[in-house]
Symmetry: C2
Subunit: 242 residues, 2 copies
Amino acid sequence: MMISDTTNTPKYYQISRQIIAAIRSGRLKPGMQISSENEIIKKYGVSNTTARRSLLEIERAGWGTRIKGKGTFVRERNVQRSATRILGFTRNMIEAGYTPSTKVLDVRKIAKGFSSTINGRRYAMPGPVYKIHRLRFANDIPMMLEVRYISIDFCPDIAKQDFTGSLYDIYQEHFGLSLVEIQQTLSTVMIDAGTQRFFDVRVPIPAFRVEGVTFCGKEMILEMEDSIYRGDKYRFSVCAKP
Amino acid sequence: MMISDTTNTPKYYQISRQIIAAIRSGRLKPGMQISSENEIIKKYGVSNTTARRSLLEIERAGWGTRIKGKGTFVRERNVQRSATRILGFTRNMIEAGYTPSTKVLDVRKIAKGFSSTINGRRYAMPGPVYKIHRLRFANDIPMMLEVRYISIDFCPDIAKQDFTGSLYDIYQEHFGLSLVEIQQTLSTVMIDAGTQRFFDVRVPIPAFRVEGVTFCGKEMILEMEDSIYRGDKYRFSVCAKP
């Protein structure tokens, strides 16, 4: 396979993107060996400098790990989720290079509402509220089991919507609501037998439990959440300033 | 026991603080029953309204859980840690009502330095750096196993300091350094056999692994961290804004 000379993109970068595309598509899986320097030289007709830079670029971009004397291997890649940025699952997955999808497990009206303590404060949504239970996937891997409680006052006919995409988009596009703040408490739990089934895992794994409350204005609760993020697939990033 | 009438603090509040003090001191332990309404009426000579408000206040403050028809019980209390505020262990524990203490396990100079990927970026501290390994306690309960790598450039004679307290205080008081930003990645891990020993637990428990980098100026790395926070004792609070 030859790399086109007519573009301004450096060759090493083009090669790295082709290999990363193979990882993203699932043709190259975590733990598998990526072509060696010599294989890249032969396959793409490039110098050893370019071949080496291609592998370094794959490593730099977080898709490969070099093991001395053995080669470069596809990295088991966690999704990083910023806890300090308002970013829904859908967009988070797209930014991470995955294709998001959603299975709606249950939608129902809860007459008595919902309440929970988040970051030391008690928040209550008077009933009725909608409870939406969904399983969310990245490239068909189940990542997160989500329960959200949505205000009927702010989203009166939301049950008519399609819940296979971003709820944030529905809030914005159908109800003209913007999110102004999200408070979340992160705890660690072992995934129990009932939840293992959803995640298609056979052994107990640790997970993040994320309990949250989302505001669309001062003291205006738009939704609350109680979700499980797989610990073997997720990391949360945070930034603290004085 | 009588409650003084000469102060402006409401009686229910004074009673709740006495009971909370008993919980904090460890005389009342998680799971134990707190005095009933009738017991409070007799013991403090107050009305049933005041007794009821005392118990509600204990619950509101997060120290008790009411179980219908059974009474109020001392809550198994996690420590909440803000991930978006710069707050050391010492001050976090004091604010949570605990007495912090520290066991220094190891202090050594690492010739080759330290590097790690935090929130998708590679950070390197050229050697030598100090590595400080500590076990940190709240009311004598081991909470967190901490490894910190400290810049010798910024803190040249830090090895002479007493490491049983706050490193943040040492940075500020001895070296005049202020923290300007902390980047952290939170992941979940199972506490392994080697670490169980430090935490004095017999069964595997999930934990938070916190990898971080702390800056004392633009691109100036003061320290890096790789610590284990017990999942059964810690929750992290975060706040996201647009």
